[in-house]
């Protein structure tokens, strides 16, 4: 009999809000938004955790510059603090070697991580999701009942088509969606705003492509000072974060 699932509720009990940063597509900036959102909220004095659930392609640790740390052990595993953020990722256990997992393994890893991680009392737990509507998304919906979704897209017809599918399935499952954030905008266009208006999901706003962003990757203090962070912060105000 599966013996780990029933404890998950307890592990998440002292967390006020859980926000999964998701998208139907890869490469749209989910990891960047999740990591900088965590940094932003921590900077404002909130207690924040960040969980990277992109098990094949974890990236939050690269964005935040996480190196040479390992979880502590106290009645479970205790996430190390990076820039004040309690950070949990599969990378502690894979040493960043290539990870080939099948669906059942993904589910097992997610259950294990959720069952053994001892988060402190948190105001926010941010989850960096992999692209699409696969096992991870379904498992978050199944095991993390109180998660809300923040969906990211780029202004591309290709991306928005996949994102609409994710938004529709979330709505069908009655999962709260905070809204859609348009990222890496290059020129004025209202294609994203118009498309989400049709499916009735709140459009939060846009963040432009920041050509200086790459220099700040891996350096928390610099990330806080980027144009990207400034625009993210403006958007967060609109959703009371």
């Amino acid at each position: 009999m599966e013996a780990r699932v029933s404890i998950i509720k307890k592990r998440l009990r002292s967390i006020k809000r859980i926000i999964s940063v998701a998208s139907g597509k890869g490469g749209v900036g989910k990891s960047l938004v999740a990591s900088t959102l965590a940094l932003n909220l921590a900077e404002k004095g909130h207690k924040v955790g960040l969980l990277d659930l992109d098990l094949y392609g974890p990236s939050s640790h690269i964005i935040l510059g996480v190196k040479d740390v390992f979880p502590g052990e106290k009645k479970g595993i205790v996430p190390p603090k990076i820039h004040g953020i309690e950070f949990m990722s599969i990378i502690y256990f894979t040493e960043d070697k290539p990870s080939a997992f099948r669906g059942i393994d993904i589910t097992n890893i997610i259950i294990e991580l959720l069952a053994i991680t001892q988060w402190g009392p948190l105001d926010y737990l941010i989850i960096d999701m992999p692209p699409g509507i696969g096992d991870e998304t379904l498992d978050v919906i199944r095991f993390i009942k109180k998660s809300e979704f923040l969906v990211v897209t780029t202004p591309s017809k290709v991306a928005i088509s996949a994102i609409c599918k994710l938004l529709k399935i979330l709505r069908e499952l009655k999962i709260p969606v905070i809204g859609l954030l348009e990222n890496m905008k290059m020129a004025e266009s209202s294609i994203i705003e118009d498309t989400v208006a049709e499916i009735g999901v709140p459009f939060i706003g846009s963040i432009f492509f920041d050509k200086n962003l790459e220099d700040a990757i891996g350096i928390g203090d610099l990330l806080l000072k980027t144009k990207f962070m400034e625009e993210l912060d403006d958007n967060l105000k609109k959703i009371n974060l």
Partner: protein, 137 residues
């Protein structure tokens, strides 16, 4: 000490099942521990005892038996099967510890001994499980 978290989840599941089955007392829990997870049995048993003391008295007289399950792995590419005990020697301390926390990272740190594929499955003995629960209504 992450054995504590696993012990806690076993007992929480047991109490949930007892609730569902309307059991007034739980007499026996049979727990399986898969070799792959390399549970420290002393710590695990200690954690079970401590948590039982702090929990409601449905568990007061529970007898706990623990069975260790051999881990077997099977390659999806060449169908070769092997045992965790055969490959354990090849793992360094960090890899072994990582598998202790998350058994699936065996796919990251080891390969099929015959064809070298990372695409294999854990057929038995992954981690902790409940084999059976006995009690009275």
């Amino acid at each position: 000490m992450h054995e504590w978290a696993l012990a806690e989840s076993i007992l929480s599941t047991t109490l949930e099942e007892a609730e569902k089955e309307k059991l007034k007392t739980i007499d026996e829990i049979k727990i399986g521990i898969g070799e792959l997870q390399q549970i420290e049995r002393d710590i695990f048993e200690f954690a079970l005892e401590e948590i039982i003391k702090s929990k409601d008295n449905k568990l007061k007289n529970v007898k706990i038996s623990i069975e260790t399950e051999k881990s077997t792995l099977k390659c999806k590419s060449c169908e070769h099967t092997w045992k965790f005990s055969d490959m354990k020697k090849k793992l360094n301390e960090d890899e072994s510890e990582a598998i202790h926390f998350i058994p699936e990272v065996a796919f990251v740190h080891t390969r099929c001994p015959k064809c070298g594929s990372p695409d294999f499955e854990i057929t038995t003995g992954r981690g902790v499980s409940i084999i059976s629960i006995k009690g009275k209504r």
